[in-house]
C-alpha cells in the first residue's frame, strides 16, 4: 500500500462548556501521513495548539481499537466518518487526500448534551440499561453452563445484537435522534436467550419508557442508524423490539 502525506483544513466545533453557545474554528494541519488514524491526526493538531499556547480540542476516546465506544465524532456530516462499519478511532487518513477540508462536530441530540468541544454526555444510555437491560441473577450458585443448551443460530443472533458498543452513532445519525437501534439491540440480545425469558415483558416496556423520558425521538424507519452503525447492528432488531413491545402491552401479564 502506497503511503503519502497531505495538508488539510479542519473546521472543528469548539464549545467551552454546556452553557457556552459554541462555534466552528478553522485549523490547518500539515504533513499528515496516510498511515495515521483520524484521532492521531487530531493528536498532531492538539500538539500544535498546545505549542501555540492554545487549549487543545477535547474529545472522547480510549481504546482506539473500535470496541470501547468512547469516540464519537461527526465527520463531514457522517457519524464516525466515511468508512462503513468503522469507529472514528479506526478511520485512517488514507480515506482523505491532500487539500481536503474536514468538518468535525460532536454528536447532536437533545439527550446527549455537549460537555466540551466534541465531548458529549451519553449517560442516558446507562439509564436505559438501568431500566431493565439485564438479567436479574445474583452472583453465586448458577447452574452448570452446559445444562442450558442454546440453539447456535439463536446464540449467534443474540451475540450479533450484543456487539453494540453504545457509542451513540445511531442517535447522532437519526433525524429524530431516536435511540431505537441501541435499545432494540439490548432487547434482542436478551430476548433471544432462554435466560432472558422471565423478565421479557417488563424489560421491554420499562426500557422504552425510560428512552422516552430521556428525550430521544421516535423511530420513523429511515434506517440511517444501521447505515452508520460501526458494528453493523441490524434494524431487524427494531422490528423485534416492536413485536416484543406489542406482545408485552397486549398480553397484560408480568407487568
Amino acid at each position: 500500500m502506497e503511503h503519502y502525506n497531505m495538508n488539510l483544513t479542519l473546521k472543528v466545533w469548539r464549545q467551552k462548556n454546556a452553557q457556552d453557545k459554541g462555534g466552528f474554528e478553522t485549523y490547518q494541519v500539515k504533513d499528515i501521513s496516510s498511515e495515521m488514524s483520524f484521532l492521531e491526526m487530531f493528536d498532531v493538531l492538539n500538539e500544535q495548539l498546545i505549542n501555540e499556547g492554545k487549549e487543545p480540542i477535547t474529545f472522547d476516546h480510549d481504546c482506539r481499537e473500535g470496541i470501547c465506544g468512547a469516540c464519537s465524532m461527526h465527520i463531514n456530516g457522517q457519524a464516525h466518518g466515511p468508512w462503513a462499519q468503522t469507529t472514528t478511532c479506526q478511520l485512517h487518513m488514507r480515506a482523505y487526500k491532500d487539500g481536503d477540508t474536514i468538518v468535525v462536530e460532536p454528536w447532536r441530540a437533545k439527550a446527549f448534551p455537549v460537555i466540551k468541544d466534541l465531548m458529549v454526555d451519553r449517560r442516558a444510555f446507562d439509564r436505559i440499561i438501568q431500566a431493565g437491560g439485564y438479567i436479574s441473577v445474583d452472583t453465586g450458585n448458577a447452574q452448570d453452563a452446559n445444562n442450558l443448551p442454546i440453539n447456535k443460530d439463536k446464540a449467534d443472533e443474540s451475540f450479533a445484537a450484543a456487539a453494540c458498543i453504545g457509542c451513540g452513532a445511531c442517535v447522532a445519525s437519526c433525524k429524530n435522534s431516536s435511540a431505537m437501534l441501541f435499545l432494540s439491540a439490548k432487547v434482542a440480545h436478551l430476548a433471544l436467550l432462554p435466560q432472558g425469558e422471565p423478565e421479557r415483558m417488563s424489560r421491554v416496556t420499562n426500557m422504552v419508557d425510560q428512552m422516552d423520558k430521556e428525550g430521544f425521538g421516535s423511530c420513523t424507519n429511515t434506517e440511517a442508524c444501521e447505515a452508520e452503525c460501526p458494528k453493523g447492528i441490524s434494524v431487524q432488531n427494531i422490528r423485534r423490539l416492536n413485536s416484543e413491545y406489542i406482545r408485552s402491552v397486549f398480553s397484560g401479564d408480568d407487568k
Partner: protein, 658 residues
C-alpha cells in the same frame, strides 16, 4: 513491617473451602450500614461492585470513563479459561493450576492460583446465567479453543470480543444494582488519593473531571480495581486512559508494590508504523490456533510472502518448540520473534515484524467444508473460498481490524506482527484475602500482583478479574468488615480528609503553575522510549542503571518544564494526563530498580546476563524464589521486602515447551 500472606493452613485443594467455612460474616442489617468504595469498573471492579451491592453493602463505584461499560477489559479479545473439561481432553482444576504456575515461571503464589482454578468453572456458569452469548456448537453446547501454554481446549470465547461480552455482563449486573440504589456510580471521576485514618483506608479524594472539583468520599473499605500500568511504555495495547495513578497513590500511602518489573510483551500485535503512533493494537492470541508464524530463511529477504517458496520459510516456533509449536506462552513467542528480527530475518519495511500466516488453515478448513458437501476431491480455489468463510466466522472482526489499520487484506497475504507491551503481572502486593499492606485497602484484577507470576497465560486475565470480583472479595471482605460493624461513617470534614484534599489541590496547582514549554504527551513519549529500550523485552544491568538516571532527570524536567494549557476549574484533559504521567515517571524508576535487583530471567523478565545456552530464560531459584514487595519511603527511595515462595505441590524446573 513483615509480610504476612495469610495463606490458610491445610491441604492445597481444601484451603479455599476451609477459608470460606470459617471466615467471619457480616449480617444483612450491618451490611446496610457499611460503605465500600470501588475504583475502576472493568471486569474486577464491575463484578465486585455488582456482587457487593447484591449482598447489601452500600457501594460507591468510580471510573474515569464516561460510562462503566468502557473500561479497558472491553478490549480483551480471545477468551477466558475455565477448568470445565467440556472437551473431555483431560482438563481439571489441577491442570489449570499446574499450567498457570508453570506458565508464570514458578513466581506465583500456589494457594492463590489454586483458588483461581477452583472458581474458574463458576465464572462460566455465572456469565451464562447473565446472558453472555459465548460461542456455541450446533448441539447448543459451549465451544472451546486453545490458548498458549496449554495442551487442552479450555478457553471459552465470543468471537474476538470475549472481553466485551463479559464486561457487558458485569456492567449490566452493576447497572441493575445502581437502579436498585445499592450502588452509586461516579463516572468521569479520577481517584487522586487514598485517605487513611488510624492506619486504615477510610476513603478517597476524587476529582470530578467535568467540573474540576475535588470530592471527599468515605468508605469502610476501599477496593482498587484500576487495571495495569502498561502505558508506562507510552506505546502499548492498553487504552489511552489506562493509568497507574490510583495504584500509585495507594503505594505512596503505604501499599507495597509487588514485582513491578514483570511486564507482558504480547507476541502478536500490529507493528509500529511511524512516530505518530499513539497506541498499538493486539491481534488475539487465539489466532495462533490457526495461524503459523514464520520468517524467510534468508536474511534481508525483500520478496513478498507469496513469492517465498515453502522450503525457504522458517517456521521458527514449530522448529524450536515442537511440543507446543505456535502455541508456546507469550514470553517465549515474543523473545523468539525478537531473536529472528535482531538476527536480520525480520520482514516489512521496518524489518521489525514476522509473518502470521493463515493460508494453511484456510485450505484445511476449506477441505473439511468440501467434505461436508460430499466433494472429496475439490479444486483448490473452491477449498480456499470455503475456507475463508470459516476463518471469517472465527476471526472476522480481527481480520477487519487488521485491514483497517494496515490497508492490507490478511485473507490474501500473511499478517505482519511484532511484540508489544500488553499486560503487567506486577501490581499492588496483596495477601490471600486480596488486602494490601494497608488495612482495609484491597486490590483486584490486573491492579494486584497475585496470580500470574512472571508471565500470564492467554485468556487468564479475564478469569482472574472475574474471580476476584465475583467469587473472592465477597468472602474475604466480610472477614475484615465483621470487625468494623461498630464504626460509624466518618464525616468527611475529618482532619485527614481535609489534609488529603489539600495535598491533591496543592499538587494540581503546582502542575498548573509550571507553564513550561513541553507537552505532557511529548514527555510521556520520552519516558516510553527509555522504558522500551532499557526495561523492555531484554534487560541488562548497565541499561537499567542508565534508565534510572535518565528517568530521574526526566522527572525533574517534567516538574519544571511541562506545559498544561487551560485551567483546573473544569474539564482539562491535559491536566488529567499530566497527573497520570507524573506517576508513570515515578513508577518507571521503580520498575527499573526491581528489574536491576532481580538478577535472573523469569517469564517476561529477561535479563541478558541470565540465559541458557539456547537463549531461554534462566531462573535462579536459590536467590530469587521470592516476590519483591517494595515499600515507598521517599522520592527515589524504596525498601525491598521479600515474600518467600514455598512450593508445596509444584516442583520448579527449567520450563520447557520443546
Amino acid at each position: 513491617m513483615p509480610l504476612n500472606s495469610k495463606i490458610p493452613a491445610g491441604q492445597m485443594a481444601q484451603k479455599w473451602t476451609d477459608y470460606k467455612d470459617h471466615c467471619k460474616l457480616v449480617n444483612p442489617a450491618n451490611k446496610r450500614n457499611i460503605e465500600v468504595i470501588i475504583v475502576g469498573t472493568g471486569l474486577a471492579g464491575a463484578s465486585a461492585a455488582a456482587s457487593l451491592g447484591e449482598m447489601g453493602y452500600k457501594v460507591k463505584a468510580f471510573c474515569f470513563q464516561d460510562s462503566a461499560r468502557r473500561a479497558h477489559s472491553i478490549a480483551a479479545q480471545g477468551g477466558i479459561n475455565a477448568a470445565k473439561n467440556y472437551q473431555n481432553d483431560g482438563d481439571s482444576t489441577f491442570r489449570l493450576f499446574y499450567d498457570t504456575i508453570k506458565g508464570g515461571d514458578y513466581r506465583a503464589r500456589e494457594a492463590n492460583v489454586h483458588r483461581l482454578a477452583e472458581v474458574s468453572a463458576n465464572i462460566i456458569d455465572q456469565c451464562v446465567a447473565q446472558g453472555v452469548p459465548f460461542a456455541r456448537e450446533y448441539g447448543g453446547l459451549l465451544s472451546n479453543r486453545s490458548f498458549g501454554g496449554t495442551q487442552v481446549q479450555r478457553t471459552f470465547y465470543a468471537a474476538g470480543q470475549t472481553g466485551q461480552q463479559l464486561l457487558i455482563g458485569a456492567y449490566q449486573a452493576l447497572e441493575r444494582q445502581i437502579a436498585l440504589g445499592n450502588v452509586t456510580m461516579y463516572d468521569r471521576h479520577e481517584m487522586l488519593d487514598i485517605v487513611k485514618i488510624d492506619g486504615k483506608a477510610r476513603g478517597i479524594i476524587a476529582r470530578d473531571l467535568v467540573s474540576g472539583k475535588l470530592e471527599r468520599h468515605f468508605g469502610h473499605a476501599v477496593l482498587l480495581a484500576s487495571g495495569g500500568y502498561g502505558n508506562v511504555f507510552y506505546l502499548s495495547t492498553n487504552a489511552m486512559g489506562s493509568n497507574v495513578t490510583a495504584a500509585w497513590k495507594a503505594h505512596k500511602k503505604g501499599a507495597y508494590f509487588g514485582n513491578p518489573c514483570y511486564t507482558q510483551i504480547h507476541p502478536t500485535c500490529i507493528p509500529v508504523s511511524g512516530d505518530h503512533q499513539s497506541k498499538l493494537t493486539l491481534m488475539s492470541e487465539s489466532l495462533r490456533n490457526d495461524g503459523r508464524i514464520w520468517v524467510p530463511k534468508k536474511q534481508n529477504d525483500t520478496r513478498k510472502a507469496k513469492d517465498i517458496p515453502e522450503d525457504e520459510r522458517d517456521y521458527y516456533l514449530e522448529r524450536r518448540y515442537p511440543a507446543f509449536g505456535n502455541l508456546v506462552p507469550r514470553d517465549v513467542a515474543s523473545r523468539a520473534a525478537k531473536e529472528r528480527c535482531d538476527a536480520g530475518y525480520g520482514v516489512g519495511t521496518s524489518k521489525q515484524a514476522v509473518f502470521l500466516d493463515f493460508a494453511a488453515a484456510i485450505e484445511r478448513y476449506g477441505r473439511i467444508e468440501c467434505n461436508k458437501q460430499g466433494d472429496h476431491n475439490p479444486a483448490l480455489d473452491k477449498a480456499i473460498t470455503l475456507g475463508k468463510e470459516v476463518v471469517k466466522e472465527k476471526y472476522g472482526n480481527l481480520f477487519d481490524m487488521y485491514e483497517k489499520i494496515t490497508g492490507e487484506n490478511p485473507y490474501e497475504m500473511p499478517m505482519r506482527i511484532y511484540p508489544a507491551v500488553h499486560y503487567t503481572m506486577g501490581g499492588i502486593w496483596v495477601d490471600y484475602e486480596l488486602m494490601t499492606t494497608v488495612p482495609g485497602l484491597y486490590a483486584l484484577g490486573e491492579a494486584n500482583f497475585s496470580d500470574h507470576g512472571a508471565n500470564r497465560l492467554g485468556a487468564s486475565a479475564l478469569m482472574q478479574g472475574l474471580a476476584d470480583g465475583y467469587f473472592v472479595i465477597p468472602y474475604t471482605i466480610g472477614n475484615y468488615l465483621a470487625d468494623d460493624i461498630r464504626t460509624k461513617a466518618i464525616p468527611t470534614d475529618h482532619p485527614e480528609f481535609v489534609k488529603a484534599e489539600q495535598e491533591v489541590a496543592d499538587r494540581i496547582n503546582k502542575l498548573m503553575s509550571i507553564q513550561g514549554t513541553e507537552s505532557v504527551e511529548s514527555m510521556h513519549k520520552r519516558l516510553g522510549k527509555i522504558m522500551w529500550e532499557k526495561c523492555g523485552m531484554a534487560r541488562n544491568a548497565k541499561g537499567l542503571q542508565e534508565a534510572i538516571t535518565e528517568i530521574q532527570a526526566l522527572r525533574k524536567e517534567f516538574w519544571s518544564n511541562v506545559r498544561i494549557p487551560g485551567s483546573a476549574d473544569g474539564m482539562n484533559t491535559e491536566l488529567d494526563k499530566a497527573n497520570r504521567v507524573a506517576d508513570f515517571i515515578e513508577l518507571g524508576e521503580l520498575m527499573c530498580k526491581d528489574a536491576l535487583n532481580r538478577e535472573e530471567s523469569c517469564g517476561g523478565h529477561f535479563r541478558e546476563e541470565s540465559q541458557t545456552d539456547e537463549g531461554e530464560a534462566k531462573r535462579d531459584d536459590e536467590k530469587f524464589m521470592y516476590v519483591s514487595a517494595w515499600e515507598y519511603k521517599d522520592i527515589s527511595n524504596w525498601e525491598l521486602h521479600k515474600e518467600a515462595l514455598d512450593y508445596e505441590i509444584m516442583h520448579p524446573t527449567q520450563r520447557s515447551y520443546k
